[in-house]
Symmetry: D2
Subunit: 347 residues, 4 copies
């Protein structure tokens, strides 16, 4: 089968013809990939930034945001059947450790991460687990939802944790309306009656955010902290969702957070630097966020099926991976890049 593989860090991946993977464990499933999202993490992988952390052996297949159709299932699989359209939670989890038994799959003590530490979904077939598969509702196509598997799930996970703080009359700031943030804005609007302020450097991004519903938009032109304070009577926001997490957004985000408020770190790359006195004097919280749970992915699919969430995408055939990478690096992509290994169910 065709697959996008990294052979050497610092070099573009190539399209290889490799043997098809096959089912071995009782909960294994084999999926015909209908769509695989491309994200900045893939660029970092190619550059070698994840080499040590993942310990993956080259060459291997990229792709950690996947959706498609089930082709084959292991002996103990009961939740999906061959032919089912599915979106795939990014982690393959054990189901037996305390985090799995508590429903926080992303902290599984025995997980693997296809596309990061083992073969991923930028290929005609992906070997994963029944525990990762969420069946798609009628009307949802893999190509329309794939990027929700990781980018969307990460955004929704943070928002779900913030929900108890977002009462009517509260304020929620969203920093960054990119691949994660544009889903984040839609999720906040669908699940709360909070006051939403969106901050971004790009007018196009702010316009997109405005199209989702009633939001205040603030251009990140150097005066963004001051503008947020003005919009909140000088107090700051109850919740700040930072989808950037670098290049100053992390300091901005903390400065926009009011007394007893919470700053959610979702994007990464920068550093948190703050005196302990400043945290205790205002009793603010800094909340880490990592992907999300299986049930959260299921909920996000429900919202998508009901029209509350819509991905902004640009579709490429699998072979065009390096064009997609060039466009992403050059900032020429208006939406999330989606690679399509299979145009429809083949079985």
């Amino acid at each position: 089968m065709k697959a996008v593989r990294v052979h050497a860090y610092g070099k573009p991946p190539s399209i290889d013809d490799i043997p098809e993977p096959s089912i071995s464990g009782p909960l294994d499933i084999l999926v015909e990939v209908g769509a695989a999202g491309l994200c900045r993490t893939d660029l970092h992988v190619i550059e070698g930034q994840w080499a040590e952390k993942s310990g993956v052996k080259l060459p291997y297949v990229l792709g950690h945001e996947n959706a498609g159709w089930v082709r084959e299932i292991g002996s103990a699989v009961t939740n999906v059947a061959p032919g089912d359209p599915v979106i795939l939670h990014p982690l393959v989890t054990c189901g037996l450790c305390r985090p799995c038994r508590s429903g926080v799959d992303q902290h599984c003590e025995n997980s693997r991460f296809p596309g990061i530490d083992s073969d991923g979904g930028m290929a005609e077939l992906l070997l994963t687990s029944a525990r990762s598969a969420v069946k798609l509702a009628p009307g949802l196509e893999p190509v329309d939802v794939a990027a929700l598997a990781d980018a969307g799930l990460t955004a929704y996970h943070a928002i779900r944790k913030a929900l108890p703080l977002l009462y009517p009359g509260s304020t929620c700031v969203v920093i960054g309306v990119g691949g994660l943030g544009h889903i984040g804005v839609q999720c906040v609007l669908a699940t709360t009656a909070t006051n939403v302020i969106v901050v971004d450097r790009s007018d196009t991004a702010l316009e997109l955010a405005g199209s989702y519903g009633k939001v205040h938009v603030v251009k990140a032109d150097g005066r963004q902290v001051q503008r947020v304070l003005e919009l909140t009577g000088g107090a700051g926001a109850h919740v700040v969702l930072d989808f950037v997490g670098e290049q100053g957004a992390e300091a901005d985000g903390l400065a926009m957070t009011r007394r007893a408020g919470s700053y959610f770190v979702i994007g990464y790359g920068g550093r948190i630097e703050i005196p302990t006195m400043d945290l205790i004097f205002t009793e603010r919280n800094i909340i880490g966020n990592l992907v999300g749970t299986y049930t959260e992915l299921d909920e996000l699919m429900t919202m998508t099926a009901e029209g509350n969430v819509r991905l902004h995408t640009q579709v490429f055939p699998l072979e065009d991976i390096n064009h997609a990478i060039e466009d992403l690096e050059a900032g020429r992509l208006p939406g999330r890049a989606i690679l399509v290994p299979n145009r429809g169910r083949r079985i």
Copy 2:
């Protein structure tokens, strides 16, 4: 009346004879001070570190941890009567803003803070509010409980927030067994079945901690992070309560916190410095903590009356304030210093 007043920053306070304060507002109460705790914040006030933040006009009376007996009450006071022994929540709050109406008094939008920004309790009489007064149960004396008003409340507040995380089988690290931490250890033991690890530089402090119940003690000798990791199978603790917050404790605390765990900043003076990637990759939280609520002070008094919490103190007459300060600065105080303006109810 006699009162301990700061006249100039950088100079020792003096014992002055000043006019007695008097009731003016309907919720005012006048309290004969039976005990006023001395803490490091008082040293910082004297040094001038709070000058700008508090904006207080010199000279003024120190003392923000107070207990005593009610002498006189305003026209609308119904919860205490003259003669009642009381402990006093450190803040005087409005009762009408959203934080007050939600029960999080410490974030009152119109508060004052006796001993910090107005005359405090190191005096024969203190003017405060009925909203700050918790009546003492029979058997509790002001001199035995005063330091719970701030130090104890702050410790208990953090622990109460951590409670949902401290299931049987979880681990809770307490860094620092001083004025706050020794109450903290007792509160954790009384309200959870978690596994407690206590970290301190001082053998005496660790011994004191051990006397409260079943705890693991770890000497902070440079290998404390490694020791905590060993005690937790390499994973770290679900909750770290940092009562120090400076001199490396803040980095240690984060390093001792496991995936999906929470680091509670209670002590202050140092800095949080951490890459956003380290927070998101492990989904850890950094939780600020500030004093506590009125109902939490009430609960802490219940635990004290029932023998679950016992303050470790050293008593001084009010006139010996400067000896107490010297002992505190020299590290010669085995427990919390308590100043006694009135030896018993005079009315």
Copy 3:
């Protein structure tokens, strides 16, 4: 001033000319009533059903859902000023007991209830407390919001408690789209992405519910339980909000509640009758609901100001109280009856 008073149980109230009330306590406020809602509880009061429970001495003024303009304030009032338009939390609370200090004002240990146990708002002036007053945002008029003070608050309070259960993909049944229920439907739609099923006997009510957004409507024609089970794949709803609570709705509501689900009792009049085995075998909960908190009323006003909630009303001059009562008894009122003692701010 003019006031609607009950003189004898079982007889229509009369419009009396009585002395104006006046400020005495420091937190008292005197309000020119702009609107007072009429509800079924008023009918029950007139019939004498509340005589023993309230212990009120006749004659007294009806009216427990009030809004208007502040005329005069007590010496300690800081949150409202003369001239401010306000809506009034139905209870006058002490602010000092544990429920008040925890923010659950409706359980105040020293409250009074104007319109039930003391003179209410069907009069030109109402004496109440600054603790009960929520200032109206520009654009909100007393006549448009008064019935939110009790009916609306009660609906929103129950929904706010149910929020953590209403994840996307869950189902929420609303039984009864009357004075409370029509607000309830709007609140659920504004604050969740749950699947809403509305049950009522009246086609008009179901049509009104449908006009608020995406809901499934089920006619209460005897097959309503079966219909709800069909719509939920046989499982029932995660949350059932019963705004009727009598005439079979209480049994229906429990039967519509799925395993591990919660049945919220809001309306009253009937009885809960269920074997303990049926509750434990399915682990269902029965949740009582009473009015709401001050901050919830504030949040409901925010949602109203932002257009998320709109009351369906019919306005009467104060003098027409007995016409309004007749219409309510005869089922001729398409919306909530609102009595108007003052047509606009007089000061």
Copy 4:
């Protein structure tokens, strides 16, 4: 192997020699049973009360509270190994439905219940799932813990749900200090600083409760409601845990519950009967409870290993099942009856 089987409802079970069960599924485990608890539910099964609900085909093996040693494991089992001592969660769950993925195993949509609807643990061997097995800490023996698998878990589950309500100064009533209640009292004492009141008809039971720590004991002699009200200043308890649920305990329990409090139904057999008005006027809750989750069983084992919980038992050889049943029916059992099919690990 030897097994206790029901052949006909209404007749005593017999000890049969039947074929050994064997592993078929990948997550199956085969356990040498070291101890099987006998409880009232077994009596009800024998009487035929569960015949319709369970649909089990006779003859079948009794026993739903089991512990022992793993003999053999399926191909996908990673959490236990042959030889491990284990206690077994009563349900065999699928791991793939939403309740399983949320950690609330007891609501699994595809579960089976050994001892109720399929062969149970009153036999030399039990076939169950790796998902049900909690490994025992060194020092814990199957015979000492088996009855915690169901009776203990059910008690702890209810208490864990009640924890957020049990602040210091609150009151918790425990009705019934039998097989479940005596574990309940120990769990409340170990995990809270609440005020505990224990109610039972038997002086021996009350004495046992008193031996666990500081509790108030109230004899259920007809004046128990009045006594609880007296002990709570007339207000009632914040939480009532009813381990009886029949013969008047259910009405008592509700009457002992204060405003805004919660009544937890754990025992069963009786009926809840209450006007909706009484629930809403006081805003009380009625909370159903069913077994518990896998992680709760794990936590209960931790508490047991640390000496916080100790079962009160009476041990019988498997062959003496009918003596044990007679003793239980006659009220001659001072503790929980435990049947021992294997005296120690045979492998």
